[in-house]
Amino acid sequence: MFSGWPPPVFDPAGPYASAVTTLGWVLIAMAVAVTLVVMATLWLALFGKRSTQQKIGGKKAIWLGGIAFPLVVLTALLIYGLSLTRHLSDPVVGDEMRVRITGEMWWWRVAYLDGEGQPIWHDANELHIPAGQPVVLELESADVIHSFWVPRLSGKLDMIPGRRNIMRIQADAPGTYGGQCAEYCGGPHALMGFAVIAHEPAAFAALTAARTARQANVAATADDGAGAALFASAGCASCHRIAGTSANGLAGPDLTHVGTRRTLGSGVLPNNRGTLMGWIGDSQAIKPNNRMPPYANLSGEELTVLAAYLEGQR
C-alpha cells in the first residue's frame, strides 16, 4: 500500500498533509542541528583546550546549554507545530462534507453524513471524496483503539472507543491514496488497509447521487436471482448488508457497492472474481483471525454464483 519512493509522508497530496510534512522536515532539520552541536561540544570536551573543557563543564554552560537551550527550542517547536497543524482538527464550519469512519476489528465502517450528521449512505474500507475540497472525518471506534492514517492526505489520529475525534483531509488532485491502521489493534492489524479515492467534483456528485438513490430505496425489491437467494441461504446476509435487499446484517462490512471496491478484505487483495471466491471460501487463510468464518461448505459452483452476484453490486 505504501510502496514506492518517496515515502508517502514526504509526498503530500493536500494542504493538511503538507503541513504535517513541513513539520516533519523542520523537526528533522532541528534534530540534525542539535545533534551536530552536541557532537561538537563532546569533541571539545574530550580533545579541546584545558580552558575550553573547564568552560563546558562549568555551571553556566550546564544552565544555558543543558536547560535553557532545550527549553526554548522545544517550546518553540511545540508552538510552531501546533500552530502549523491547528487546522487539521477543525470542526465543520461551513458546508464541508462529513463522513463518519468507525474502526472495527479489522476493517473500516464508513458512513456519509448529511448536514445534521445523519447517515445518507454506507460503505466500507473505502472513502470517496471530491478533489480540492476539505472533508471532515469523524473518527470513532467500535472495539479497541485504532488509528486512521492516510499519509498523503493528512496526519495520523487515533480512533478511541467512546470518543469522536475530528480530522480533516483534502486531496488536491483526483487519484487513489492508500491508508493503514497505525495503532496495533490485534491479530490482523497489519492487514487493515484503507483507500481514499478522490474524484473530480462533478464525477463525485454523480457518484453520490447514484449511491444515495440506491440506498434510499429501502423496499426489498432486488431479492430475486440465484445469487441473492444463495447470499441469504448461506448466511451471508446475517452479517452483511446489501441495500435494497433483505440482507441487512451490520456485523460485517456493507457490501452494497462491493463490486466497485479497489480491494477486498480491507486493503489486502485485489478485487476480482477469483479473489472474491478465495476470500469467501477461506478468508482465514488470507487474513488469519478475521471475524469472517471460512465457508468450506460451499461448492465451486456456488462460490462462482456468489462471486458473480457480489461483482454485480455496484
Partner: protein, 323 residues
C-alpha cells in the same frame, strides 16, 4: 523374504488392470508407504551381495558408489549412510534419491529395478557372470532415471501395461494361457522359484528393454518448459497483482497463501494440468487466463490478466520448484 528362493511376488489382483501395471503399482505403493529407500537400497547392492559371490557384489557396489558420489554429501548430512553387512561389510551405500517426493515420483521405476535385483540375486552362484551383466545394464537406467527425475507418463505407462500382457510368463507378464485366469479370477500367487534361471534372465533383459523409454521419456524441465518470451519475475508481479494467492499457496509468494485451490508447486515436473490437460507452457498460460473454457466446471474463474501476463505467470510457475 530371508530366503530368496522363496521370494513370492503377487501378480494379478482383484483390480481389473494389466498384471505389469498392477505389479508396478504395488511396488510403488510399498515404496511410497515406507518413505524410504529400503527396497531400492536392496537393489543397489544388498540383495546382490547375499545372492552372488562377494567378488561380483563388490564390483557392482563400486559402480553404484561411483555413480552416486555426486549426492553423497547430502546423504552424509542426513546421517543416512549405511554399512551393509554381508560379504561386503565395509561397503557404504546411501539413498540414491534425495527426498521422499522424488521417491514417490520414481516409485514404479525403482520398483522394477528392485524386482530385477531380487531376480539377479536368486540366480545361482554358478551364473554370477550373467547376473553381473544384467545388473550392469539395469543400473545405469535406474540411475539415469533418478538423475533426470523422470516419471512414467500415463501413455507410456499404458504401453508398459500392454507389453506386460504380451510378455510371455514370469513375474512381469502372464503367459497367454494364464491371461484368461487373470481376467477371470483376478489375483494369484506365483512362486518365485518356479521358473528356470535362464528364463528369468531372459525376462529381466526384456524388462530392462521396457525400462529404457521410461528413463528417457522426459528431458530436463528447463528444456520442456522453455518460454523464451516470458519473464518469471514479471510473472510473479502479475500473479500478486491478480491475487492468485487468494486461493493458492505459491512458492515465491509469501502471502497470501489461500487454501481454496491447490498449492502450485513443482509445475515443472507435473504431468497434467487441471486433472486432464497436458502440461505445456501454452496450455498453462491459457488455463491461467480462462480455466472454465478449458476445463468446464472448474471452480477457477477467468482471471483478469492479459495473454502476455498469463505467459509470464506460467514461466513463474515453471521456475518455482519448492513446496
Amino acid at each position: 523374504m530371508a530366503d530368496p528362493q522363496h521370494h513370492v511376488t503377487r501378480i494379478g489382483s482383484p483390480a481389473r488392470s494389466a498384471p505389469l501395471f498392477e505389479l508396478l503399482r504395488q511396488i510403488g505403493w510399498r515404496l511410497a508407504r515406507q518413505q524410504r529407500i529400503a527396497r531400492a537400497r536392496a537393489f543397489s547392492a544388498h540383495s546382490v551381495a547375499i545372492g552372488t559371490s562377494g567378488q561380483t557384489a563388490r564390483g557392482i557396489a563400486v559402480m553404484i558408489q561411483r555413480h552416486r558420489r555426486n549426492c553423497g554429501w547430502r546423504l552424509r548430512r542426513r546421517g543416512q549412510l549405511r554399512v551393509v553387512h554381508g560379504h561386503c561389510s565395509a561397503l557404504r551405500i546411501g539413498q540414491p534419491l534425495g527426498n521422499p517426493r522424488h521417491l514417490r515420483m520414481l516409485a514404479a521405476t525403482i520398483g522394477i529395478g528392485d524386482h530385477l535385483a531380487f531376480d539377479v540375486a536368486r540366480i545361482e552362484p554358478g551364473e554370477a557372470r550373467g547376473a553381473n551383466s544384467v545388473a550392469q545394464s539395469v543400473k545405469p537406467m535406474t540411475g539415469k532415471a533418478s538423475i533426470a527425475r523422470s516419471r512414467i507418463r500415463p501413455r507410456q505407462r499404458d504401453q508398459f501395461a500392454g507389453r506386460g500382457q504380451s510378455v510371455g510368463g514370469g513375474a512381469f507378464g502372464r503367459s497367454a494361457s494364464a491371461e484368461q485366469d487373470w481376467k477371470g479370477d483376478g489375483g494369484k500367487w506365483v512362486h518365485g522359484a518356479s521358473t528356470t534361471p535362464v528364463a528369468r534372465l531372459f525376462r529381466i533383459v526384456l524388462a530392462a528393454a521396457m525400462l529404457l523409454p521410461a528413463a528417457a521419456c522426459k528431458g530436463e524441465p528447463q528444456e520442456r518448459h522453455d518460454m523464451p518470451f516470458a519473464d518469471a519475475a514479471r510473472g510473479r508481479e502479475a500473479a500478486v497483482a491478480a491475487g492468485c494467492g487468494a486461493c493458492h499457496s505459491i512458492p515465491g509468494i509469501e502471502w497470501p497463501q489461500g487454501s481454496l485451490g491447490p498449492p502450485l508447486y513443482g509445475f515443472a515436473s507435473r504431468t497434467l494440468l487441471g486433472g486432464q490437460l497436458p502440461n505445456r507452457p501454452e496450455v498453462l498460460a491459457a488455463y491461467i487466463r480462462n480455466a472454465p473454457s478449458l476445463v468446464p466446471g472448474s471452480a477457477m474463474p477467468a482471471m483478469p490478466v492479459s495473454a502476455a501476463e498469463a505467459r509470464d505467470i506460467a514461466a513463474f510457475l515453471y521456475q518455482s520448484e519448492g513446496r
